[in-house]
Subunit: 523 residues, 3 copies
Amino acid sequence: MIARIATLLFLLIGACSYAGNDNEASKDANENQAAKDVNGYEVSKGAYDYEALKEKYYADHPGKGKYTDLWEPIPIQQYWNPVSFYEPPNTVEGSFTAEECIACHQTTSPGWVHAWSDSSHANLDEIRNLDEGDPRFYKKAKLETIEKELQSRGVLAADEQLESVSCIDCHAGVGKTSMDHQTELKLPDRAMCGACHVQEFAEAESEKEQKWPQGQWPDGHPSHAMDWKANVETAIWAGMPQREVAQGCDMCHYQQNKCDGCHTRHTFSAAEARKPEACATCHNGVDHNEFENYMLSKHGVIYETMGKDNWNFEVQLKDHLTEGEYTAPTCATCHFEYKGEFSHNLVRKVRWGFNPTPEIADNLDHPWFEERKQAWVASCAQCHSQRFAKAWLDTADKGTIQGLEVEQEAKEIVQKLYDDGLMVGQKTNRPAPPAPAEDAPGDFYGLFWAKGNNPSFSGRTHAEMWEHDLIKHYKGLFHVNPGGFTYSEGWARLMRRYTEIQDRNTQVREMAELKEKFEELSK
Amino acid sequence: MIARIATLLFLLIGACSYAGNDNEASKDANENQAAKDVNGYEVSKGAYDYEALKEKYYADHPGKGKYTDLWEPIPIQQYWNPVSFYEPPNTVEGSFTAEECIACHQTTSPGWVHAWSDSSHANLDEIRNLDEGDPRFYKKAKLETIEKELQSRGVLAADEQLESVSCIDCHAGVGKTSMDHQTELKLPDRAMCGACHVQEFAEAESEKEQKWPQGQWPDGHPSHAMDWKANVETAIWAGMPQREVAQGCDMCHYQQNKCDGCHTRHTFSAAEARKPEACATCHNGVDHNEFENYMLSKHGVIYETMGKDNWNFEVQLKDHLTEGEYTAPTCATCHFEYKGEFSHNLVRKVRWGFNPTPEIADNLDHPWFEERKQAWVASCAQCHSQRFAKAWLDTADKGTIQGLEVEQEAKEIVQKLYDDGLMVGQKTNRPAPPAPAEDAPGDFYGLFWAKGNNPSFSGRTHAEMWEHDLIKHYKGLFHVNPGGFTYSEGWARLMRRYTEIQDRNTQVREMAELKEKFEELSK
Amino acid sequence: MIARIATLLFLLIGACSYAGNDNEASKDANENQAAKDVNGYEVSKGAYDYEALKEKYYADHPGKGKYTDLWEPIPIQQYWNPVSFYEPPNTVEGSFTAEECIACHQTTSPGWVHAWSDSSHANLDEIRNLDEGDPRFYKKAKLETIEKELQSRGVLAADEQLESVSCIDCHAGVGKTSMDHQTELKLPDRAMCGACHVQEFAEAESEKEQKWPQGQWPDGHPSHAMDWKANVETAIWAGMPQREVAQGCDMCHYQQNKCDGCHTRHTFSAAEARKPEACATCHNGVDHNEFENYMLSKHGVIYETMGKDNWNFEVQLKDHLTEGEYTAPTCATCHFEYKGEFSHNLVRKVRWGFNPTPEIADNLDHPWFEERKQAWVASCAQCHSQRFAKAWLDTADKGTIQGLEVEQEAKEIVQKLYDDGLMVGQKTNRPAPPAPAEDAPGDFYGLFWAKGNNPSFSGRTHAEMWEHDLIKHYKGLFHVNPGGFTYSEGWARLMRRYTEIQDRNTQVREMAELKEKFEELSK
């Protein structure tokens, strides 16, 4: 009996320490306690240092980025990157109160007003009066924390409450009472939302602290906090003449600029962002089909069949299994979580990043990667045995490497074709890509730009291997969607591309041989 | 202060007149007032002229169309085009009342009876007793209007009410009390539904009034009201020997014939048709992926996360933002709307139509196109600023043209290959397509018919460019789905096809050159 | 009048006997009556013979299958096939009661406990106290039947009731009160679930009785009951060196081993499995896109727009049209049904099976196929006229054959290329596939393995024709998704592949001719 109790105790302690979720940590996770250090982000005692965060945010912001001379923003881009490009419209003269904004926009754009008027922002008293049983009860404490923050910064007077969060608060500045439409109107950026939501701002910005141990990616990449920089500093994005197509990339790569990618204006709902579909617009398709993989996995199926109508998405993520009644994870429950805590830093468990490369594959036993794998095991162990979780993650790692090997073999074939000058049209009709892109086989630019025989068929095919199929293969494995890494996407597609490249390689070399023989005979 | 009030007034007036939604228009939109002129459709004072509408409907109907000698309907087609092909079954003898229909079909096909018995058609008294607060309250007035219409046409006696809308009303004629199963049974067509729903019939038929200013499309095309004609007068549809495959096209191209494409029998729900999925069966896939684009756009994501369970789809479209509580558009809210009114004419804002062509691209500044663009701006301005709306529509126009340019360049290459006789197998193994299709490179027929080397690889690839990828590119842009016109569909696919065509062009020309040199050497 | 009544009577009798759903049959379908013969499965009077079923289940189980020497299971596979590979973890010592299991796992893996605690298994008293009006009322009788069964087998004492179905019941044995974690812990297999759910076990196992009249498939194939055998006895699955990719196939091909493919642990919900999404993880994608076809068909659209929130998925399948209020079918309503009865044998109406072949096409008029077609007509006639149902099934059969003809023509071309030694690289760089696979053109192995020029481009393309596009074509037809067999998948893709194969055929033969001429000239 004593042995058995000892075992139980061991298990309980083991499980707890494994999850890094001890009592201290739990206390830290308390949402009422604003003061904390988020992944190295320095915050002052008692409160986040909003001004320092804001200063750093703007200092880090790349604006047009390093290729600034190569492109000019088109009008729509002021909405994707208001930090750098937004100008208030010059069609409306005068200074207005929030009531006047609403009165007029009720007619000119009623959808805005309607979405806002049902939001928490428009109904702060409803938040203040929530019962403890209400799943949104946590918002009451959050509101108090926000108000205390604003008071400590002098935005609100001591003991002053926010009346509502209305047009002017977000489009000119918290606490302002009127706004000149032509000179003061702003499109809210991360820092504007962060003026109240300072904890979430700090958490989200802390993604920039990501550092890869062998320099696989530049500091802070890939992340939401640096996604605009990643966008504008991509060679073909900056160089392609079709600016209206290029700006399509901005439409997801703007999380660095704004918060409404997940919390759509003007409802700004937390519940919305907790649902998997909220991630779908950006996380789908040929080079990162996370949404499709999730939805076709058992996890997604449970969401669809059992969760959509029954789980309570108003509860905080940390309570999803208990008060939320979730019986499967959503995107947010796995990707916001790290060692038992939930935050807006989504990259703390990232291992393979955007795409599998040898530089990652060869270092998976490094402690940086190994610790993150253990953090994943702890996440999965919410609902699975640790042994199962580890077996799956090992399987997914090895399966990913198997895909990588095929892609790397194809890459060598394509590189050799290029080095031998044997790509179709390589010597006769291969214009250079637009600067700053530089000619190369299988390069990223070939997915978004083509002229004459650049890219070649084999180069383009290899680009699809590493940028589409290998990524889908890896995403299929890690999101546990069997068809996603066996027959529909991933492996079977890699086999197809490999076949096409081998086929083309043999064809062009036979043709070259024949031509050579012919030249000799013709002499 | 006076300046500010003046500004406000200006804005209010501007917004109202911009939307074309002034008080007069609002009154016109009143659903109780049946008399109106729908896009040139002549209607009598006080009521629509149902008999004239019906006569025109049948007169316009193409039956088997102009290729009538080339094909014969197969049995299933009587269900897609009852106007031309339906024959009552000869297995049941006798004449029956609705009660007898129901008694028997309750056993032979209970699903019909069950769907109908829950419908408004089976429960007119419930409609008559709706409270003003009920979202379906508008149906009460609609029912009264319908009954007045039927009374004025003598179908109902003065002051007579409809008891219910039951089997015989739709399958033999409104108000009939019995039906001979072998001789009188009809499958309801548009005119049959229009016997009561005359306003919707008139609106839907008014799509035929569409006239393109530079003749880009024949009158009335593309539209739901002419989709059967478009179907049977497509050369490869009429000519392909696989009739069971060909009839698959009918399964969407039957809106000209029937109303249950959107309001599925035997529920005939309006709420169903207001949901985006109702459009999915026809508006998805390789050559018009509207559904996918919508669902992955922010609009669709809001529908999925916030709307599906919360918005009230029983309210009329015109009240979707207010009583319906929509916070994002659905298919219907944008495509049924025109200058603030909602109707069953869905083509009044069509600009690029089915597919982008130079004939459209070159005329976008013509007032016909420009006015429609302004109508779109007004639609978007329900929830966006006019400046944003215009910036987006400009972006989408230019992005579409950028795609078109790539496709046109590829088209020239393919045409030149054909003119030079250099398509693979062109001189040795290129059978003619079945009449009435005629041999051509990159033609539509190559998507549905192939024999020997017709179509060639390059021709088929070009057909996919203009008929799949360019359309997806354009639909991705206009439905604001970033992946739909950047990396997953659209632009990146156009680049792939362009690469394939350039590659093939270089290959076959090199081969031809080698052959020629060889022939010379062999002489 | 007499004639009319006679007609009605005729119709009623005809319809009933057609559906095979007469009163006797109805009585048989009564779920309270456990004793019955399921498709030849011998069951004892008064109860199923669980011990015999279990013995046969294990006797039939292939374990590692006939290629056992070629592969070794990796750790994750113990979870897909616990019958053969599961080992209890050695990390926990001691013997525990269910209460102790729960106490510990509440901390180590709370998701399990939470899912289970909301399930019927954890709340048997709630089942016992259900009101007759509750849609789950049928579970009360089912529970009584199960308990009687267990009593008759001596698992429960006479009149003893189950307290709950808890950890130990499923992970060690029904009725056990404690379990040694290191030696007794099992992962439940079909037979374990069958210990209580003996009727469902017998029904599911009866899929093995499937016998094809002309030997088109081996006995019992294709079916859920033999899917593990089908998996491990597939040559390329056993031979491919990438075991982590190969195990992905297991993740669906494990229904022979476990029941949680449809009733996800630890909720084990019947309602879940009645929803179409429950089938999605396995029945989607390139070689069996049933889910996509269903969702885009009218059936799926009605589910999405009218059903998802309104139908009652707690009711038994047999009551779906009545108490369930379904107005369209789901996967389960068609595939669980056979002649008016619903069971866990899903193959009783299978005709074309996994993929269309000439051996099936040429025998469709054989009574085996014809009777199954009539069973389908009866299913469809729940909501459609028999004439419509027959017209559709005829259309689908003929359309499928039209697709098959194209694939067969392409097959001949590819076979001839192989026989002539003309596949690209065939004589210079075509390594043998890994044993037990044997070299062949267009073989299945080429979808999952590639090296050098094996498979060739033309062979791989043909493999995609028969294994992807033809199957999608057929599935699109039978699931009534027009785009699925016209332009998006199916037919139009078959045309594309055919074009690619014809193109390659002409190219390589021209090249061979040129080489030959050149060799002659060089002599």
